[in-house]
Point group: D2
Chain length 297, copies 4
């Protein structure tokens, strides 16, 4: 495997993902708005692109791991955008958490220029990315999915193919994040009820997360919430709200009420109004505790 690959977006997730590609022996040209973030990769042999567009080469593969729909769209379109740079035969491997509709729109935009857009968002926190253990969901044109496969294998533990609709992988990513945040809210409410009833919250968490709910997701969040260990944030509340709003927007476009997402959105806003934007998103638990009249030290 010696293809050249571009990688744009070196945040908490992008950085270890790009590193995984380097470690797999690929030649990687990286770009990040804050250039200093690229340093650790340059040491490992990455090349630095002078602009986002330059990370893409004609007919090559470029990976994007950026903040949101707006950032992704502005990188992609226009005369100096990624689609124009990639051109015929190029592949845009879009791994950010974005809306299905932007994926469908950009897939069409690429198709008109001979390049291909593949959506491949990931599940897992930074530690999992560092261990190359991400779960990846992918959708798009079969040939392009086959060609990016070695990259996915380098970054992740398992890839799930959702078919050809370029928005499908994003739908599943949003559904997954919705499941996570619903679980956080349920843990929060359950522990508030237990604690106010006089139970030891650690005992409650230990019982439930070793029996009914013996999966890493619950174990992790039970632990965080019992310890109220919301800093440093693995995933900031502000970003969590962004994802919940993507879920709700998808619900709006497809005419699907998602009342648990509505509730979690309102919970997040009440926490953000109290200045908790930079805590981990599981800190929405603080709202449930306060509503129960439980003092938080």
């Amino acid at each position: 495997m010696n293809a050249e690959v571009g990688f744009i977006g070196l945040g908490n997730m992008g950085l270890p993902m790009a590193a995984a590609l380097l470690e797999a022996g690929l030649t990687v040209t990286v770009f990040n708005r804050t250039a200093a973030k690229a340093e650790p990769l340059l040491v490992k042999g990455a090349k630095r692109a002078a602009s986002a567009a330059e990370a893409a080469t004609a007919g090559g593969i470029v990976v994007t791991m950026v903040a949101d729909d707006t950032a992704l769209e502005s990188l992609t379109i226009g005369d100096h955008g990624l689609a124009a740079r990639l051109g015929k035969g190029g592949i845009h491997l879009s791994m950010s958490t974005v809306s299905p509709s932007i994926s469908r729109k950009l897939a069409e935009y690429h198709a008109q220029r001979g390049s291909t857009y593949v959506a491949a968002p990931v599940f897992g926190r930074p530690e999992r990315a560092q261990a190359h253990q991400l779960w990846i969901v992918i959708s798009g044109a079969p040939a392009a999915k086959a060609r990016v496969r070695p990259l996915l294998d380098a970054m992740g533990r398992q890839t799930f193919d959702l078919g050809e609709d370029p928005g499908a992988a994003n739908v599943l990513k949003l559904v997954g994040n919705f499941m996570i945040v619903s679980a956080i809210e349920a843990i929060s409410e359950g522990l508030a009820l237990a604690e106010k009833s006089g139970l030891d919250r650690a005992a409650v968490a230990a019982m439930l997360s070793s029996t009914l709910l013996a999966c890493p997701l619950y174990q992790g969040y039970f632990n965080t919430i019992v310890k109220r260990a919301f800093e440093p944030a693995g995933f900031k509340m502000q970003l969590g709200l962004k994802d919940v709003e993507l879920v709700l927007r998808l619900g709006s476009e497809t005419r699907v009420p998602v009342p648990m997402a509505s509730m979690v959105r309102d919970r997040a806003l009440a926490n953000l109004a109290r200045g908790r934007a930079d805590l981990d998103w599981s800190a929405i638990a603080l709202g449930a505790l306060e509503d129960a009249g439980i003092k938080i030290s």
Copy 2:
């Protein structure tokens, strides 16, 4: 272990639990309002009590596995109730899903008569009871808990001790059921969103329940809801509503809002209004599907 034990309530759960005691070599005297239900146990050596009260002997242990607070209370109190029959040194091992407040009230009632009330509700569906693999949560007076330990070991896989407050085990049972029903609702909404967006719901369920949510609870409910296999009911919706209302009542008494329980209650009512009382409680998913405009065959 050759103590005599009484067992009252031979429903879907009580029957295999009483059988487990017999298999462990205990002498068990059983009672059920519908007497025919006791037949399979008589064959295995159980004795039949002519009335609920007669299942209890002075200073002995009696297990109750009955429908609700009202049934439990009417069995226990009064001149011919269990407390009076058990008397000094007797133990009432209350394994039903009831409110913490009835447990606290009956514990006091027993204490005034020299007997001891121990709350020990269980987690697990009938299959798990048959396999003696229930998870049991217990709370109450230490000496009584020690004395019933062999019974618990016969019926369950693991017992979690929540301390001396006789209501504590019931609180945890309710919190656990709340977590389960919240997960069912989240699965329902997530799958509705995915399906309406054009994804294959089985693929979505397979991905999520083998990664983030790889625990038996999610695997089971994802499967049930994907297949819409709501009959025969493992746990009827009507009973599910009863438990959610216990959660909300506890919230009301302790001044703890539990908005997810409120939402699930409303969801359950909308399903019950459509005549689904005898389906499995996971059939609340049908409401989420209908609200998304998805045709259910």
Copy 3:
């Protein structure tokens, strides 16, 4: 009009209602658990009953205005209860806010003893009761309704007949209280949104309550919430919660989800958890303000 009437329950509402009967020239025998509350009526010519039961006379009319289902039931049934005292031809005019099911149950109980139960709950705060301007909703047997008509005319401004089902008037009373508390919540959320957006909340309230929402209910609550004038309470939050829970119980019994009532219940609990039981129920607005991060002086 010279009939003898008993009146039980001299709280904020019962006192001015009984006074209205006296002023209309009726002979009124009153009872209240805290006897001192009766003093102002004795001055006006009321007689004092030594017990609740003694307020009722054979074949007479007794009015009850008590706290809840439990209080009403315990007054009514039993050998020394109101039904037994009233006997053949007697009428129990039940004006408290209670559940439709207790009304139906007590109506049957009375019927078996030859007496008649009429439900006639009222709308209006104490000031309105003092002015004999209550709105009364009534249901039950026609002959009894005709016989109590002069009492209703003395206490209220208008009476609305809901037919023969003794629970019907209670249903309407609960629906009405539900409408009120939903309006309070909507006002609270709307003002929080306006204030956080930088608008003058008094200007917002003035505009809406002189145009779209120009009815006394909105004008009153807009004013209270803008001024945050939650003390003294016209109707305490704790009692408001009781009524919302009656709404939800009725929904549960009839299989009707009432999600706005669920939401208001959760809102009330969060406020009660912060120690606001004795504020006016419109103080649930404080929760909406806090969730918006608005400082309350």
Copy 4:
């Protein structure tokens, strides 16, 4: 009053509003995408503009009454937009229901070009517009507000000034629509509960809307919902959803949870998923009835 005024957007509301200006003696140049809609105004003396931009004259006043933020923004900005046409001294009187943020953004855009943006959304259905009885809320620069005053007086019954923030009037308009839709939902749930309990829904509506809730808003919606007279739509459900989403977006931007708006949004989606986009927005009541298991003929 003989100034020239442009008017863009001749929908259900725009048409009678423009007619009111003509009747007040103003010279009005109108534009509508579907040109035929202008005919009734041309008969009354209006001039037709060949394009939206041509409805605006240098230093003049142009009124816009268009569908949404996007339509408003695209009309306003750019070399051929309204701001460029109006130029120094011109006024853009923006009467559509749009977001506060687009008003603030366009106010700045205008200011940079010497023109002034004034937000003046209206309350009232088409009948009220025809009767020149709209309630108007206005905010923006004082001089411009004074200059447009005669137009407002011609179209409306009363104008409420919210100060200089050009977004303030839009905030109040959204809060008002939120209050309306919350009332519709409360009416829907209340009537479902009453009907399922066996009451005559018309009697319930008659009682409540002549007492507690004796204001035109409730009287109108009680009547519509009792009669299930959702066609023809006064205001389509689809547009109602748009406004609720503007409320939620404002909540999101200002960090204010508005849980009743979340609930109504979910309710609207469930109705839209059943194909009710063109019914009146009060048809969200159908969802509450269905959830109660009430058959709708």
